[in-house]
């Protein structure tokens, strides 16, 4: 108890937020991906597997081409491809979307595990750059949080605001929302419902693909099987908690990573809590938020229902 209070007094909270923001990046990407897909009516549990696939492909291609940019491009393309596979199974073959997503996750874990072991190498992938601006990073508070972070953190923040504008203020977003709430209305207005859904699922793949790049091209430079550790699912919980709104989903993601960063700090300060139990924190929080928030959430009305003319 003593060490706990001591630690609480000594922690650099600005640094904590910076760490939490960094850790939230893949979760937010998954949440944004979920928002595009689900707002158009397609449940996308597959984001976990898509992120994992992208992480692997980013790593492999970055090593082969010795360029993190080409690696990221390849990863994103692979993510979009797998996302479209999920779309195909859900939209064209009208399989239950949760089954399709679960299947894609198992498929991705199997394929990446196989490829990893079959072509195992010790090579390190080149990193994507950090954004570390000399003058700005020493500013109080906002300095370390914003101006000394990996590049993808900035991409993530831009994506959050861009998604907010796209969904609520553009033609694309309007049509997407119509397709997700009352597809028949969109159909009679002349909009191709399934094409909109495929496109949004592809965008969700793009988001998850960027999230995957974060694992192997920004934090560590190698791939381990199942390295996404459920963060795709946590992203979905953040999406639900944020009521399918990008800015709220971002805040919800921070709500998960701040306690996680706190737990990490406790370890540094030798607070005698077993690390295994601390590591369950994000998963516990996810369960608690889902239990507390499900009844109050307002998902798109046509979510999960394939559209039949």
């Amino acid at each position: 108890m003593e060490q706990l209070l001591d630690a609480l007094r000594q922690i650099d909270y600005i640094f904590l937020i910076a760490v939490a923001l960094r850790a939230a990046t893949p979760i937010v990407f998954a949440a944004l991906g979920g928002i595009y897909s689900e707002r158009s009516g397609v449940v996308n549990i597959a984001l976990e597997g898509i992120m994992l696939t992208s992480a692997y492909v980013c790593y492999k291609f970055a090593v082969i081409t010795d360029s993190p940019w080409l690696g990221m491009l390849a990863g994103v393309l692979s993510a979009v491809a797998i996302a479209l596979l999920h779309g195909l199974i859900s939209i064209r073959y009208r399989t239950d979307q949760v089954i399709s997503g679960t299947v894609i996750n198992i498929f991705a874990a199997g394929i990446t595990g196989y490829l990893y072991r079959a072509f195992q190498s010790q090579a390190s992938a080149p990193y994507l750059p950090n954004i570390s601006i000399e003058g700005l990073k020493d500013l109080p508070v906002i300095g370390p949080i914003f101006f000394d972070q990996p590049m993808l953190v900035w991409v993530m923040l831009i994506a959050v605001f861009a998604t907010n504008v796209i969904i609520f203020k553009t033609k694309w977003g309007l049509r997407t929302r119509a397709v997700g709430e009352l597809p028949r209305a969109a159909d009679t207005a002349g909009i191709n419902v399934n094409r909109m859904r495929y496109a949004n699922v592809a965008i969700s793949g793009l988001m998850a693909g960027l999230g995957g790049a974060f694992f192997t091209l920004q934090t560590v430079s190698y791939f381990t099987p199942n390295m996404t550790s459920g963060q795709g699912f946590i992203g979905l919980a953040a999406m639900i908690f944020g009521n399918w709104n990008p800015i709220n989903a971002f805040l919800a993601s921070m709500l998960f990573t701040i306690p996680q960063a706190l737990a990490g700090q406790f370890q540094l300060f030798n607070v005698p809590l077993p690390y295994q139990l601390l590591s369950t924190l994000p998963y516990l929080l996810t369960i608690i938020t889902l239990a507390g928030f499900m009844r109050r959430s307002t998902p798109p009305s046509a979510l999960g229902t394939p559209y039949v003319k």
Binding site: Y93, V98, V103, G110, R117, Q276, Y283, I287
Partner: protein
């Protein structure tokens, strides 16, 4: 059985069989592309899984396949029960772990009981623990509408940490390796045949579970209730069925089966709890459940298939040089094809059209 016909059986089994066949073809293509020989790989796989006879030091291949199939069978029954109610129990892996942990704990902490009591008690502990672990997700779904597909996965991750903590901490055996002490001999699930055969009574337990599953789901009122909730939960509600209570009961039984699988595995083959018990059985069993399509015989056959893949992989790698990780590719494709029978149908239709094309010019000219 009323209303039974072979035509109906085949039409139900066809998607599963076709999916496996197609997956074999695709995995074969992957092997060709990466420079291996699929025919050699598959023949040595079949040899390693079914045909190799036992020797003084090596168990009979087929019997060992049954040993591998045992956990798949019990887990898939549990997952399939959940599917029947419309629930996604992706937490089979975590329930397996927690069940194994509980079984081992009763196995070595409780001393001085005769096997006739100790063994069933340990297995029961596993089943109860699994049921409770799944019950958390079931209760949250029934009372708060929390999606079980996410909560069960979260509970998986939590279970890894719990087992890790317990085995490295309070339950740790003296010595350097992180593991629990061995279980008492009275808690061991014994083998059915003398060494080197590994076939143990757990296989019989699994078969009994399959029989129980049939009677529960297809012949009992509770089973009909579960099926109706899965088919149309609003109509079930209207008819007076308590849907949320049914969800909870289903998850409890499902978790109980998965926990039992953990107990069976650990008390027979391992007889202690290691800190890293990564099996992946819980996820592969989802594929087994999908292949089985809710039919206990189908699930049994699918479990034997996956047992064969697990058992024969080692020999396949040794004999043909193909990395045994191709099995995961195979399983991955099986699961995609089983989930979208439409893809299978389209691909088969495409193959049939290509074969039919040469016949058309011969018929041409008549109109």
């Amino acid at each position: 059985m009323r209303n039974f016909s072979f035509a109906k059986l085949w039409s139900g089994a066809w998607p599963a069989v076709a999916s496996v066949f197609l997956a074999l073809v695709v995995a074969g293509l992957v092997m060709v592309v990466t420079g291996s020989d699929p025919i050699k790989a598959y023949t040595s796989l079949i040899e390693g899984a079914f045909l190799r006879p036992g020797t003084d030091t090596r168990p009979t291949a087929f019997l060992d396949t049954l040993v591998s199939a045992t956990p798949y069978l019990i887990l898939a029954l549990g997952i399939s029960l959940a599917f029947t109610a419309g629930l996604f129990n992706i937490g089979a892996e975590g329930q397996l772990y927690m069940g194994a942990l509980a079984s081992v704990m009763v196995g070595f902490l409780v001393k001085g009981l005769p096997p006739i009591i100790h063994l069933p008690l340990s297995l029961l502990a596993g089943a109860v623990m699994g049921a409770l672990w799944a019950g958390i997700a079931g209760w949250l779904k029934a009372t708060r509408g929390a999606p079980e597909v996410v909560t069960t996965i979260m509970l998986n991750y939590i279970s890894y940490s719990v087992v890790n903590f317990m085995v490295n901490g309070p339950l740790r055996h003296t010595g350097t390796a992180p593991r629990t002490p061995d279980i008492e001999p009275s808690a061991v699930l014994p083998n059915m045949l003398p060494s080197p055969e590994r076939l143990h009574w757990g296989f019989v337990i699994a078969l009994l579970c399959a029989v129980a599953y049939y009677f529960l789901v297809y012949r009992s009122p509770l089973g009909l209730r579960i099926r109706l909730v899965g088919a149309n939960k609003e109509a079930a509600r209207y008819a007076g069925i308590q849907v949320n209570r049914t969800y909870l009961i289903t998850m409890l039984i499902s978790g109980g089966l998965c926990g039992l699988a953990g107990g069976v595995e650990i008390l027979s083959l391992y007889r202690f709890m290691p800190s890293e018990f990564t099996t992946g059985y819980g996820f592969d069993s989802i594929a087994v459940a999908l292949l089985g399509q809710g039919n206990p015989i189908g699930i049994l056959l699918a479990a034997i298939l996956f047992g064969a893949l697990a058992n024969g992989a080692g020999y396949m790698q040794f004999s043909s040089g193909v990395s045994n990780y191709i099995i995961s590719v195979l399983q991955a494709f099986i699961i995609v094809f089983v989930a979208a029978p439409g893809i299978v149908r389209d691909l088969f239709g495409w193959i049939r059209i290509k074969r039919a094309a040469p016949a058309l010019p011969a018929k041409g000219g008549t109109k």
